[in-house]
Amino acid sequence: MAIKWGLNPNSSSLGVDVTFLLVGAAALSVATPFVSALVRLRASKRASSAKTSESSSDEDLAQS
């Protein structure tokens, strides 16, 4: 899993958050399970709200 944090307002480059280089891998190892849990939670909410669908295709999910 890789996480790209934040939003880039700059119309001239892809902003990269270097603040995590300060706190290092230890902090990221704490943040990653949290983010992972959030992603799964959102996915399960989507699934329950769209449970009438027989199966989820990537196109379905991409728009949900």
Partner: protein, 407 residues
């Protein structure tokens, strides 16, 4: 009815996009794009995908199925006249696209699966239809973000502030230094705009173009950002594009400053407890200090991802690999990007980064850095396929072979 429809569509925000390596999930809190492999993507409910027919590549190994973000130069009109403006924006501009073409572009980008828009110029705040376009982007599930000088039509920006994910004001120096970098005295006005904007939204930051003249003041700029309670500072390398071509030699940082860049930034971020972002062209200066490759990869920190993670569009609609790059030969307009995107030769040197020469070829970080800034290479050695001449590793290699003088 129209309002209800608008709200209904706004809630249909893109959350998940299938990629060859797996998928990308978008979180609105915390604001992040999360890259997961195929196994993980299956646990999110994606049973299968046509994108998964071949071998599973690593993230970044192949171009994404669509950009993560599109940088739209929706106007090239601006009264500021900054001496280093990379778009050479001017008070009068011609052949600019009307809002209808930008709406069609947003439709095309939404259909491709783009997550974010970065709107810039020129001065986008001067466009009377900016609000309509931003709302349209929201309605199509894209998150619009804005860069502005803060010097023009502030009332419009204030009114639209809640619609943007992030707004940054360009401030390249404090007080007199602003004038030294930008060529005119606009600090007081930009500062006042920042204060007003911060009252409306917490998602406000500043863009700082780092030059050899303001490098020594980065600490003071960080302190200023903290004082103004900004949520980020984004540092941009000076690029030889637009009016920046003629001023590049005088404005770009020295080799010593480039080598000191990361320690300086991290020291300032730590001291002021500030979030700092840097642009992709700074990757050679980051990896010069040998950070963990695994950490960089897990943060999705890459160098030049023009024509891959991001694309640009000129005010005339031509798609570009990034905002500084020239449109590719026979390249499309941004509202017809999808077919071109799939072409193996799309965006030329930008996507052909694996075909590198030394000293990039043997660099441990090459798969992340991708050779540095193509635009700087094109300017300094007239070949965008060459390694970034301002990369410390390249500087050292060139000094060894005495091919380029150290600045």
């Amino acid at each position: 009815m129209k309002t209800w429809l608008s709200r209904k569509r706004r809630s249909v925000e893109r959350r998940l996009r299938v990629e060859q390596f797996g998928a990308i999930a978008q979180l609105s809190w915390p604001r992040a794009l999360v890259f997961v492999d195929r196994d993980y993507a299956r646990t999110l409910g994606i049973k299968t995908s046509s994108q998964w027919s071949g071998e599973e590549p690593d993230i970044g190994e192949r171009p994404l199925v669509a950009p993560l973000e599109a940088h739209l130069q929706i106007t090239n009109r601006c009264d500021a006249g900054c001496q280093g403006c990379y778009t050479a924006a001017a008070p009068s501009a011609q052949r600019e696209w009307p809002i209808e073409r930008w709406k069609a572009s947003i439709d095309a980008l939404a259909d491709m699966g783009v997550f974010h828009l970065a709107l810039g110029g020129g001065e986008s705040a001067d466009l009377p239809w900016l609000g309509e376009l931003v709302q349209y982007a929201r309605d199509r599930g894209l998150v619009p973000n804005l860069t502005t000088s803060g010097l023009s039509n502030l009332s419009r920006v204030l009114q639209l502030a809640p619609l943007f994910g992030q707004i940054n004001i360009s401030i390249d120096g404090l007080d007199d230094e602003y004038a030294r970098v930008r060529g005119f005295d606009g600090f007081a006005e930009a500062d006042a705009a920042l204060i007003e904007l911060r009252k409306r939204t917490r998602n406000v930051g500043i863009n700082v173009v780092v030059t050899r003249h303001n490098f020594g003041s980065l600490g003071a700029i960080f302190a200023y950002a903290k004082k103004r309670r900004l949520n980020e500072v984004e540092l941009l390398r000076f690029k030889p594009a637009g009016r920046g071509i003629s001023t590049f030699a005088d404005m770009s940082c020295s080799d010593v400053q480039h080598r000191e860049f990361l320690p300086t930034v991290l020291k300032g971020a730590r001291r002021h407890r500030l979030r700092v972002r840097v642009d992709c062209s700074y990757m050679p200066m980051l990896v010069h200090h040998k950070p963990s490759r695994e950490l960089l990869a897990s943060l999705s920190v890459y160098g030049c991802t023009g024509g891959d993670f991001l694309i640009g569009a000129k005010a005339t609609g031509q798609a570009t690999a990034c905002s500084f790059a020239q449109p590719p030969v026979n390249g499309p307009n941004v509202d017809a990007l999808a077919d071109y995107w799939k072409e193996p030769s799309a965006f030329g040197a930008f996507r052909d980064w694996k075909n590198a020469e030394e000293p990039c070829k043997s660099c441990d970080y090459h798969s992340l850095c991708r050779g540095g800034c193509r635009v700087v290479s094109r300017h300094l050695v007239d070949d965008e396929r060459k390694p970034d001449p301002e990369c410390p590793r390249v500087v050292d290699a060139n000094a060894k072979h005495k091919t380029l003088p150290l600045r």
